[in-house]
Structure formats: C-alpha cells, structure tokens
Symmetry: C2
Subunit: 316 residues, 2 copies
C-alpha cells in the first residue's frame, strides 16, 4: 500500500477543528497561532524490543506513546492541541493498523488533541509522537521555579507502575500478597496523562515535572534547576490500595524510586496554598508530601535521613 493511501485509510479521522488550516495531505500542516499564546511541544520515540516487549498489543503501544507526550505537555501546564505521528512498520498488517489507529484516535479525542500530519516508513517497529499545545504567554510551569519553603505536591498514587513492571517483565513472585495485580499492570501500560490537573495547577504552582523516572529522580531535576533541596515525609506518600497490601517499607521504596507513573510533581508557594486547596476543592488525589529546603540537591526524609543527593541514591 502506498504511504499516502495508508495515511488516508488509517489516519484521516475527522474534519479538522478550527485552528487547523491544513492537516494531512499537503507538504506540511498549517496551524493557527493565536496571539498571547506560546507553543509548547514535546516528542518521544518508542521502539519495539526497547521500550515495549515485541509482542505488546497495538493498543498498549499507541496509548503509552501518546500518553507520555501528553504528560509532558501537562507538566508544562499547557493544553494539548495537535500532534504528529512518525510510524515505522516492518510490514503493513491491517489488523494491527486498525487497532492502533482506533485506540490512538480515542485517546486523542479524550484530550481534544488532533492528528495534523506524520510520516510512515518501512523498518523496525517504532513510533515517534510529537504533541504541540499552547499556554498563555509566560504561564508555563518550569522545573526552575521552586523556592525555599514551597510545599511539594503530587497527583494520584506512586509506585504502581513499577510494581506492574515487576509483575509483567520479571514475573516477580514477591508480590503474592498483592491485591489487584491488574491495577498495577494497567498503571504501567495505560498511564493517565494529568492534563486537566496541569491546567488547573498552573495558576498556583511554582515548578512542575511529571514522574517518569521515579519521584526522587524527577524531584532532583526540579532541585537542580531551582538550586534548592527538599524534605519528603515518606509517611504521607500517596499509595494505592494495591501498594498498601504489600510490606510498608517495600511500598515506600517503590513510591520513591519507581518510574512510569506519569503523575505530576509540583511545588506551591505557601502564600498560594489556601487558594490552591480551594481550587482543587479538597480533592484527595492531590497530596502534600514535603517541602523545599535550602540544602541544594539533597533530599532527606522526615527524620533527616538522606534519601538522595546528586550522584548518590540511597534507594538504587
């Protein structure tokens, strides 16, 4: 099948929304730029056998490829608007393509994010997705804005995806007592990008990142960019019922170091905190887990024990 037909058949979904001048079918997409807005863009590549096992179903691949990019846009406090897809396929398998295209469309529609172009090539299976969004000028959430005394917040629960990875990849049998294994596997394969949360918190947060490599690792990016340190109250880390069903120390370790949760980790100036709490309407899926300190690059726990400093990770 010719590349153009493949794009026509599987990736031309809807009438483009307003804001899209030209979508699939010309040399490039043309997108309206509104004034007073900034374009925010993020790209990630997923390779079969590297980022996902070779026999991963198309739905899981497509979901994660788009979701992690949406999560990066969310971590900037921006609103996703458009994306492009560079898809490399070893062969044209129409069942695979139908499942991939259907799932991608569904997830994209859930976030009002429109496919505006792409490229299909033949080769080892890989997917590059670039999401473009916008944000009011100067309003994007950077890693560099955390100040001493700011409260540290996180959305959702932590460590679930890392436990899911142990279950799926390593068939780790230390989780015999774990309740709801499927939940952890779903958290790994079908992460929820916190787009609405990003848009909400951008009015109150001083810095933000998404948790892709683990809480301590991603927090350290904020600390380095902002030249500050942090204290984490490990007893207040948000744990799912699944993680609560395993040994407490182990669960906390997963919550501190496990990657792939794609929750938002952000800081809030105490002066804005009451307004923030009103805005989230005491939603318990936002949890305060600590505060920013002057100990540059160091993370300690509630007993002042070192959890991580640049170049040294107690839990690795």
């Amino acid at each position: 099948m010719h590349e153009f037909n493949l794009i026509q058949k599987y990736f031309t979904w809807n009438k483009p929304p307003s804001g899209v001048g030209v979508a699939v079918g010309d040399d490039a997409a043309v997108l309206n730029l509104s004034s007073n807005k900034q374009l925010v863009t993020s790209i990630d590549t997923f390779i079969s056998g590297v980022h996902f096992p070779i026999n991963t179903p198309p739905h899981a691949i497509e979901h994660k490829s788009l979701a992690v990019n949406l999560s990066d846009i969310a971590a900037m406090g921006a609103t996703p608007k458009w994306f492009t897809l560079a898809l490399t396929l070893p062969e044209i398998d129409s069942h695979w393509l139908q499942a991939f295209s259907k799932g991608l469309k569904q997830l994209a529609e859930n976030y009002d994010c429109f496919l505006v172009g792409g490229d299909t090539t033949r080769g080892p299976l890989s997917i590059s997705i670039q999401v473009m969004g916008d944000v009011d000028k100067g309003q994007s959430l950077l890693r560099s804005g955390a100040k001493i005394g700011d409260k540290i917040y996180v959305t959702g629960t932590l460590g679930d995806a890392a436990v899911g990875l142990q279950l799926i990849e390593y068939e780790n049998n230390e989780f015999d007592q774990l309740s709801n294994q499927l939940f952890c596997e779903q958290r790994l394969n079908y992460p929820t990008p916190r787009v609405n949360e990003g848009v909400l918190i951008k009015h109150f947060a001083s810095s933000c990142i998404d948790v892709s490599d683990g809480l301590l690792q991603d927090l350290s990016h904020i600390l380095e960019s902002s030249n500050v340190g942090a204290t984490i109250d490990t007893s207040s880390l948000p744990l799912s019922n699944s993680l609560k069903s395993i040994e407490k120390e182990k669960a906390i370790n997963y919550a501190l170091t496990g990657g792939d949760d794609y929750e938002l980790l952000f800081t809030v100036d105490p002066a804005n905190e009451s307004q923030f709490l009103m805005a989230i309407n005491s939603d318990e899926s936002y949890r305060c887990i600590g505060f920013i300190t002057s100990n540059s690059g160091e993370v300690v726990d509630e007993n002042d024990l070192l959890l991580k400093s640049v170049g040294y990770n107690h839990f690795d």
Copy 2:
C-alpha cells in the same frame, strides 16, 4: 551515557534566539506564537538500511534528514524557525555523534532554524526530524490552488539526484559519458532546500509542492488537489550540464520521473507573471515548463502525447 548528558553534550548548541521561551532541559519546549502568523510543521523519519545504506556517513544522514523537512516547509512558502530531533542509536559512538551534531548545527544555522528539543533512545539507527515554521495568516502555498491557464514553473534542475542514485546504488555503467558524476551524487546526498525561493514565490504562486518523488508524480498531486490537468514542454525542462552530457531522451526521462531533487514545482497566474519575473530579476534558475489545462489529472507533452494520468505513468 545518560540521555540527558548526551543531549547536553551534543545537542545544546547556542543561546536560544528570541522566540524560544524554553528549549532543551524541561518537559517540553516553549515557543512564542506571534499574532497574525500560522504555525507550519512537517515531520520525516529516516531509517538505516531503508532510507540510506547502512554505512552512510553521519554528515549525509543528518543533512538529508533536516533538508527534506526544510524543503516541505519551503514548499508551503513558510519560514523555518524551530525543529525537534528524535534520534535512535544502536550504541553511543562519540565520533559519529560529533560529526552528526556538527553537520546538523551547520545546516540548521544556515536556515536560522533552532533545535528546541528531542528524544534520544537506543535501538536500530533512525532519525525523525520535525521542523516548525511560520507564515503570515492565510499565505501558505497549498497544492490545491492551481487554475486553468496558470504557468508551471520549477526551480533548479531536474533528474540529477535520480542519476546520482543510479551511480551510487546500482553502479549503473550506462553513464560512462556523463560529465561530473560527483555533481549528481551530491545532488542526491546533499539536497538544497529551496527556503528562500519558497518565501519569495509565495507572493505570486497559486500552488506549490517540492519534487521528492519525481516531477510527474508530484505534479499529479497538484493536479488532483486542484482538479486540473497540465501540458509540459519537455524541451524546456531545466537540465544540468551533467544531464546534458547524456542521451537527450534519457535525460528528459530522468527529469520527468526522477525523485529526490527537492526543487520547488509551482504555478503562477499569468496576471501575476510579469510581477513575478521582476521579483526574481530574470533569474534563470526559475524555469517555465508548461501550463495548467482543463484535462483533469492528465499530463501531456508539447505534442499532446500522454505523459501521465492518474493510475498510469508512461515513463514508469
């Protein structure tokens, strides 16, 4: 080497130009959107062993990956501004990376196009580049604007890259009399994106495309999108001195069907032609090669012989 270090070492080049709020080093790039402008974006993937031979030097890979995307932006009459790079490498080879990064930087700077972000992963060698540019609102050159009676123009010379491919890939010995083989090989490996030409012609052209798959093939996209036909004067096709040194019929065949030249093919309303000719200052690198007709989807030569109709190509 950690992904972040690799980006810091090889792909953090300059102080970002104005217009870039945040570049490499946060969750996503933040780019200013000026009012009255539209964002134009194009993405292409290049895979080792598919789009280039496995031992292709990094300079050739990097040049072509960026140049063909710049060419797509040029074919829209837009100005390239930013790009992202998704780079997949089988291993971290610092010599390879240094050469790749140096060449990419040079080409990007030639076109004032700034690297704003990307992703590096481990896997079979592949490169996805997405260029983003802008254009005054409603001014982009589409494939769909050609009208009956419009003149058909092309930049540069045609068929060179296809002859270069024969020389390099197939070691074709029918070109013993060809002068300057290196020229044709360079045209294949180091195409010149016609960015300045695209910006100039956008004031006069009614439609435009870049010649990536061959003149007849790419012209047919304009004809289909515009619902018109074309007459091509084969005696006026622009041929390089190299192509003039081979049998005339063969040279014309390469000029009509050879891909990879990345010249601009565009149409001009006769009412705008004198202004257009003044603007290009009689530059002979722009050549009129025919005109648009009412014979939907059909291309004939100066003797009314069919060169191509949708689904049938005389020269394939």
